[in-house]
Each structure stands twice: as C-alpha cells, then as structure tokens.
C-alpha cells in the first residue's frame, strides 16, 4: 500500500514575502561594519565624512524642503521677535480702595 504524503497548503504570497523579508533582515543584522563601508563606497559615499548623504533621513531630512535652500527661519524669527509675548508684571500688588 502506498504511503499517503500530506502536502501542506501553499503559503499565501504575504507569508512567502514576510519569510524572505525576515531572512534578509537577518542578513543585514549580520553584516559587518566593513561590509557597510564597502557598500557605501560602491555608492560613492563615505560614512566618516561630515554631512554624508548616507545620513539623509537620519540626521537630516530625506526629502529636501524649501528651508534647505532659503532662510525661511529668519523670517519666522523676525516675526516672533516683533510679536514677543507680553506678560503682566505681578510683582507689585495692585492697590484697591
């Protein structure tokens, strides 16, 4: 009599994708610093360089904003200085009759 072989139901595309993602994540976790530097060099970037594009999205925004080209902060600062908050001085009590 032939032995019946149980075949598992085919995994969903989502499950297959997740397995690959997790395995590749592990590969990246296992990558050495030297491998990271080598990959960065392939891309023409140097992690040791100050302001390296490698850190875009980490130390500074990944997406360039208007403020990266224009000093928008200056206008905001000037406006803030003009409208600085005024708080009534409560150090001298008000005399009431």
């Amino acid at each position: 009599m032939r032995t019946k072989v149980k075949t598992a139901a085919p995994a969903s595309p989502e499950a297959r994708f997740m397995r690959v993602l997790q395995a590749l994540e592990q590969e990246l976790l296992d990558a050495s610093d030297e491998e990271i530097i080598a990959a960065a060099t392939d891309l023409g970037m140097n992690p040791q360089m100050k302001g390296s594009a490698l850190f875009a999205g980490l130390k500074y925004p990944a997406r360039l904003q208007l403020s990266d080209f224009f000093e928008l902060g200056m206008a905001a600062r000037l406006e803030a200085e003009q409208t600085s908050i005024v708080v009534p001085d409560r150090s001298t009590p008000k005399l009431t009759k």
């Binding site: 976790l29 491998e35 960065a40 999205g57 600085s84 908050i85 708080v87």
Partner: protein, 194 residues
C-alpha cells in the same frame, strides 16, 4: 510689564540624532537600521516612508514606550520594532477599510456591532506582496544561486534544505549570502526615496 523673549533656537533634534547623542546606537548601527527600515518599507502605503518607520522606532525607545529586554542587542530590538510598526501600518490600513464597510452595514443594526478584527490578507495585500517579492528577485537577477536561496527562503526551507535541493556547496552558499548582503546594503544605503 515683563517680556518673555521668543525662543531663538528653532532646531529640533530628530530621534536619530538624540539616539546618537545618548549613545543608544552608533553611526554604523544607524546605517544598518536604515537598510533594514528600507527593506521593511517595501510594499507599505506610499505615505509611509522608511524614515518614518525608523524615526518612530527610535522615538518609542527614547520615550520608553518600548522597553529593551536584557541581553537583546539594541539594533536587534529596534529591527523588531520596525517590523511590528510595519504590521501596525497594515493592520490600521486594513481595519480602516473593513470598518468603513461594517459601518455601512451597521445602519440597519446596532452601531456597537461594528466589528474590529485582525485582518486576513486581502487581495490587494497579496498582490502587493507578490510584486514586492518580484522586486526583491530583480535585485539579484544575475545571481542564480541568490535567486535559488530567495526561492528556498520563501518556501520556508532551511539553509541545508536549500543547498541540497539545488546542489549548492557550503562555500558557494556562503559566497552567495555575502553577495546578497552587499546588494542589500547598496540598496539600503542609497538616498533614493523607497
């Protein structure tokens, strides 16, 4: 009248900068995490970027909403948070769509019967997973051994099973993994969006 001077320093530290300053991670670890976040951002809705995943994971550790268990390296812990954030995004997106459907139906029944369940893979999600897996395969298009490894991983095979199924020697397998890491890092460290 007393005047409070406005705050001149408008610089706000990003979570990654804070993590570096607090020596939670090194710059190299941050780059490794960038590559991992870019990997996990694949297939997510376009409004969620890899930097959102990574900065959010760092924020959760910095504010203490996720506590690092003893003995777990920080990078591994952060990678785990990135993975769960990815699932969270999918769950939220799916429950939003299923909730809308149920509310429409709930007009005839009691409003408290709105059902919130953990979503099963939708056709849209399955299609997206297929496309993303194809994109990953494209990264290794010229590397036959790497493609065999990817196929084996998708089928949940162990390294030994993959090797014996395709007759790959241990040395060839390890070399392919090394090439895969290099490709993944190149893809993960690029400045391109997603």
């Amino acid at each position: 009248m007393r005047q409070i001077q406005p705050l001149v320093d408008t610089k706000v530290l990003r979570p990654a900068e804070s993590a570096l300053a607090l020596q939670l991670v090194t710059e190299m670890e941050l780059l490794r995490l960038k590559a991992i976040a870019r990997l996990h951002a694949r297939g997510l809705p376009p409004d969620v970027g890899w930097d959102d995943l990574l900065q959010e994971a760092l924020t959760r550790v910095l504010v203490g909403s996720r506590l690092q268990p003893e003995g777990v390296p920080t990078v591994v812990f952060l990678a785990g948070i990135i993975r769960s954030l990815r699932s969270e995004h999918w769950r939220r997106a799916a429950s939003r769509s299923s909730q809308t459907l149920r509310i429409d139906q709930a007009n005839e029944t009691a409003p408290h019967e709105v059902e919130l369940r953990d979503p099963a893979p939708t056709p849209e999600r399955s299609l997206s997973a297929r496309q993303e897996l194809a994109e990953i395969r494209k990264l290794f298009a010229l590397d036959i051994v790497a493609l065999q490894i990817i196929a084996g991983l998708a089928d949940d095979l162990s390294p030994e099973q993959i090797r014996s199924a395709h007759g790959i020697s241990r040395t060839d397998y390890d070399s392919a993994r090394k090439r895969m890491r290099r490709t993944l890092l190149r893809e993960g460290l690029t400045c391109e969006r997603k």
